[in-house]
């Protein structure tokens, strides 16, 4: 039984603009895939810790030392829109 998903909400969280047809198609596909993925729920995992890193290590740090930064011109040359040393984007709907 495919799982039902609020695809419009998920697409909004992911910032991907989808048409109604696309949403319907993805909703159906995701339902099928999630149904399969939900098999994980059949395994008993009480008391089993989750794995975030395959290697059991801790504390990979760097020293507090300044290293060279990128050249601004090179960085901004790849920007879709830049002016006066700044990246430029359209306004946000609600500003901080």
């Amino acid at each position: 039984m495919p799982i039902d998903i609020d695809i419009a909400h998920v697409a909004k969280l992911a910032r991907i603009e989808l048409s109604e047809e696309e949403m319907a198609a993805y909703r159906a596909q995701l339902g099928v895939i999630l149904d399969h993925a939900a098999k994980v729920q059949a395994l008993p995992t009480e008391g089993v810790p989750p794995t975030s890193h395959p290697l059991d290590m801790v504390n990979a740090f760097r020293d507090d030392v300044v290293t060279s930064s990128l050249d601004r011109d090179e960085v901004l040359s790849q920007a879709p829109d830049a002016t006066d040393g700044f990246f430029r984007v359209p306004p946000s709907l609600d500003n901080e």
């Binding site: 890193h53 990128l70 960085v75 430029r88």
Partner: protein, 480 residues
Amino acid sequence: MKWEPVIGIEVHVELETASKMFCGCAVDFEAEPNTNVCPVCLGLPGALPVPNRKAIEWITKIGLAFNCSISERSQFHRKNYFYSDQPKNYQISQFDVPVCHDGWLDVMVDGVTSRIRINRAHMEEDTGKSIHVGDSGRIHSATETLLNFNRAGVPLVEIVSEADIRSAAQARAYAQDLRTVVAALGVSDAKLEEGSIRFDANVSIRPVGTEPFGTKVEVKNMNSFRSLERAVDYEIHRQESVLKSGGIIHQETRHWDEGEGVTHSMRSKEGSSDYRYFPEPDLLPIEVTDEWRDAIAATLPEMPAARVLRYVALGADADSAASLAGSAALATLFESAVEAGAPGNVAANWLTGEVTAWSRRESLDVAESALTGEHVRDLAAMVAANSLSSTAAKEVLGYVLAGEGGPVEVATAHDLVQISDSGALEEAVDEVIADNEEQFARLVGGEDKLIGFFVGLVMRVTGGKADPRAVTEIIRSRIG
């Protein structure tokens, strides 16, 4: 119906490390835009974060200063949300296992001390800076946004209190005392006006005597301690009047408007609160062993509260002690003055009074002046010996601060040394009495206010250098 405010405060502290949290770009707020950026803090494809060990030491230091427990193992998480100043569109932060947890800060308001519990202090990274450009200059009619990523990735410590605060004044005191502690640690210059420390308040109210919390409102954009108090106070009253008129409080974020003195509702960001936290796969867990924690604890300076008590024991009154403890420069001067032999209360008064006033007038840090602890001692001694009137002493202090030399040197050079030697004064008094027999007779007869007349004449005759109290005493003795 009596309402009780229930307030929690969230603080963000920018750490003054040399390099950023996850990359080697310099932390430099004066730099030209986008000149301290690299693949990591710009969120370029393929970039990976590597944590700054010093930042971990410093957050541990902060946690210890607030009596927190340090998690033996803590974990970075990704906090996912889209915003143009957030290069990866997620922030590396901490979720359920922060570095520090369960601490407190004791805060005094109107002589009453309360313990405000601290839930956690966790490590995260700052965002870039947005400049909203618009034709009317008002934020809500921006036509474009300019982005500078120099600040992106600067280490940030977030400190979250429990909702233990019960008034706007207490909120302010908590914020100020917290700031003092952080500044004393040397991990951040913690300047509210500059944004290196930032405060948000969570405000709710409930009927007095009840337990359940009311709906809380987040208040942002308080850029001074005074506006923090005003904003919290306003919000408490706003919520009271809403409830009184039968309305309900909406859980939302409100923006403090200092000019209008009100909080405005920010358009609610739909869905933005689902941050989909998950453990950061690019970073290993942080392990702070007992040894490491103890080594960091050994670097903690004396905390302000303990210092205040010590200064009181040295002779300063409570208020002066607090002011001295809150300023590194004044504290140093106070301690060296006392060590040099100055009486504690006198040194404290000079430092918190005239010296502080000078600092404000000249817009200079006391540390930049030429004043030493020995100077304070000498000044105090001269006043005690009556070689300087209190007016003259203030003038002398000014010259000392300006770097002209020690108090004795300066007082002599400016001819401010007071004559308190009784022989010289008696001579002057007798001279004046002899020249003003009629007035002296009236003084002896009971016109007591003529004392001032004679003191004034003696002052004139001595070029203003006589000690007026000593003069007065001698005149009285002549009355018989």
